[in-house]
Symmetry: C2
Subunit: 432 residues, 2 copies
């Protein structure tokens, strides 16, 4: 495990910051006033401008190479450099941003720090392919129960890290509005579909995984090497039109019900920042099969799971008017993943499929076993049958126009600084 | 309809050429001896070098803009220019390559023409997203029958142009070898899967469609405008591992069973070249529903279907040893598409999904109603139950190592020059 110092930063807002203390140092792409795309690091309420720091001569060797690889305003080339360049950059950033850094208090240093609230965040990378997995077993069971009460999990679930290809072109950073989609739906009891705005719009709480170094076509990534191919992590909201999904998804899977938008948090939280929050894979319940050998690795079993608290909040227009805070809908955890990220990578590439730097994986909805841990309204309201009451006096079966969904994440461990992911927000606009 | 001259070309091999007479002029990306990627036009057994012709001052106005947009060795930017730039380029190329062209017989002209056999073809564009449809109704019925004899077509089929997201990173040009994938399969009668090389490797005969100009996120492409967003056409082989597919595909659709490789023919046949081969949509059989209004357009009904003959040939190693020609497995036609390309585009974007220049669609397997028209071995051999006998004395249930599959296309119409697509080839290598 990387030695994590309890050190403080000379950037005052970083110390005790819920998401971005010195121990996090997530990478992202930002712009100011519509200018060029630049790479930066979130530190408290500030962004440390990596391109400016490069020009100021603050990087050497592998750290310099890492920042130079971001010069085109996207992290793909940096991801492709793999773990060693990322670690070198992190170590140098820890030196530069610590309390005892030589940068502290220098006039020219101010130019390297921007107020995050003044910056526009962008997608951190060009996403070549996006794959959405289904590794949240509680979600798979909850959704399966709605369709097949006696047999919620299909026979392949405990052998195959189920996933499908998603739409890459409609992934957007936090803050992008969500236009309610139109589409075909089959009204209950009818034989013919109608066309109109989605009436069952939902969120899905997911962990996003950035692929770092890719693999060549035809050359699978062994499970033991898979962790080396992780570029970082984010939050992902897989917005879902449940009524469109129910009518379209057989036999080839979800399509237009998901492809209108996918929101992600813009900061790439590195594997190094998450080291203290790795956990052993929970023992599989008695009777569950062991993974096939290509999915089994002792190091992955010992530390391939993650302990990240995941939260969903809803902010309605009425709450804003009543000065109410956003209301929590979900509090879950990445520990409910049935498969690790390394298993997802090994499985995805086992047929020779080429992964590329900047590919994005979604984990699938990460629900826990309890109602307050359910990662979608489909599960919370049992497909709309049990509406929830909000503090504002409203009720919700699914999302309404003007509703804003906010995802957050928090990693906590005794003796370590807590870190977070920043927010992933999206507000529903009425259908056109 | 574009006026198609019966004119001949001064490039001798073009006249009467099965694929690339003067009337076709497909666009592609090539290199010579590992050099830079260049754009070119197939004409007979030659490639007309567009970048060289540009430097020779042969293009003006919109045609010049079209060729300049290809300077980066991919057609994306050219696709994004839309129809008018493409038409201007075609008209200028017809002038330059006709029998009475001023280029004829000039010494410097020779430098503009390369021997196609000496060139390496590449993917014509950076493929951002790849969508595979399922519009071959005969294939959907044949496959459905294998699983649901009484009810082969699902209730949504005649309302929804069914499609799913495919893997973009593993699309390769004709000639790329196909490594037999490994994966999980469930042996007949067993409760637990095993891992190993695919034993039921198959081809799928499809039409590929290149997206030209894209649309903005949230702004659907109306059916009446959809034809303007077509960049061109190719052949597509959606290689399929049937045993992996059967075990993995529920509930989210095919994944590793398809993502190991997809082969395409490298030449982009333009909508203009295909104008004479457009046909009215065949009347829907009695009892079939009419398309919902967003999928209905009188111009598309009158001329949105295509009459393209599609062929699959198999060349085994034994055939090569015995000096036998490749044996035809399939002779089908794009007329078996239940939905037009315009309907596919309108449907794909109706939820606001953003299409981008260089996106690729597959039609889905285009089988006809007769056995010799079936577009996959799954259908021809009824899932391996009825092996076929080959002229070489061999039998096949599915593809074996060393087998090569060749797709071809031919457009014929009385009074018009026939055109083709060039080949889409791929040879099976043993599993690693």
């Amino acid at each position: 495990m990387t030695q994590l110092s309890p050190a403080r930063s000379w950037v005052a807002s970083a110390n005790g910051h819920a998401d971005f203390p010195l121990q996090n140092l997530p990478l992202g792409i930002f712009s100011v006033d519509g200018g060029a795309l630049r790479s930066g690091v979130a530190i408290g309420e500030r962004i440390f401008d990596l391109q400016a720091a490069l020009h100021a001569g603050l990087f050497d060797g592998a750290a310099r190479q890492a920042v130079e690889a971001m010069a085109d305003g996207q992290l793909n080339e940096f991801f492709d450099l793999g773990r060693s360049a990322r670690v070198a950059l992190r170590e140098r950033l820890l030196e530069l941003l610590r309390e005892d850094s030589p940068l502290r208090g220098k006039v020219e240093t101010a130019k390297l720090l921007l107020v995050a609230a003044d910056c526009q965040m962008h997608l951190p990378a060009r996403i070549n392919d996006y794959t959405d997995f289904y590794v949240g077993i509680e979600h798979a069971q909850n959704v399966g129960k709605l369709f097949r009460p006696d047999n919620p999990l299909l026979p392949n679930y405990k052998y195959v890290p189920i996933g499908y290809h998603g739409r890459a072109s409609t992934i957007r950073p936090s803050g992008t509005d969500v236009r309610r989609p139109k589409g075909q739906t089959l009204p209950a009891g009818q034989a013919e579909p109608t066309f109109g705005p989605c009436a069952r719009l939902d969120y899905e709480l997911e962990l996003g995984i950035w692929i770092g170094k890719g693999n060549a076509l035809g050359e699978p990534i062994p499970i033991g090497d898979a962790a080396e191919h992780i570029g970082g992590f984010c939050l992902l909201n897989d917005w879902s039109a449940r009524d469109i999904q129910a009518w379209e998804y057989q036999p080839l899977g979800p399509f237009l019900s998901k492809s209108f938008l996918t929101s992600i948090s813009p900061w790439v939280v590195t594997a190094e920042a998450l080291e203290p929050f790795r956990r052993p894979q929970p023992a599989r319940p008695e009777g569950d099969p062991q993974p096939l050998p290509y999915l089994l690795d002792t190091r992955d079993q010992a530390g391939g799971a993650l302990d990240i608290e995941l939260e969903v909040l809803l902010l309605t227009e009425a709450m804003v008017e009543q000065n109410l805070p956003a209301q929590r809908l979900t509090l879950s955890n990445t520990q409910y993943m049935y498969w690790t990220v390394a298993q997802m990578i090994a499985h995805h590439s086992v047929n020779g499929c080429q992964l590329q730097a900047g590919d994005l994986f979604g984990s699938g909805t990460l629900s826990g076993p309890e109602n307050h841990q359910f990662g979608s309204l489909l599960e919370i309201t049992e497909g709309g049958k049990k509406p929830i009451e909000l503090a504002s006096g409203e009720v919700r079966r699914f999302l309404e126009d003007g509703d804003e969904i906010i995802l957050r994440a928090r990693c906590r461990r005794e003796g370590f600084a807590s870190i977070g992911f920043g927010e992933c927000r999206g507000k529903i606009l009425p259908a056109r």
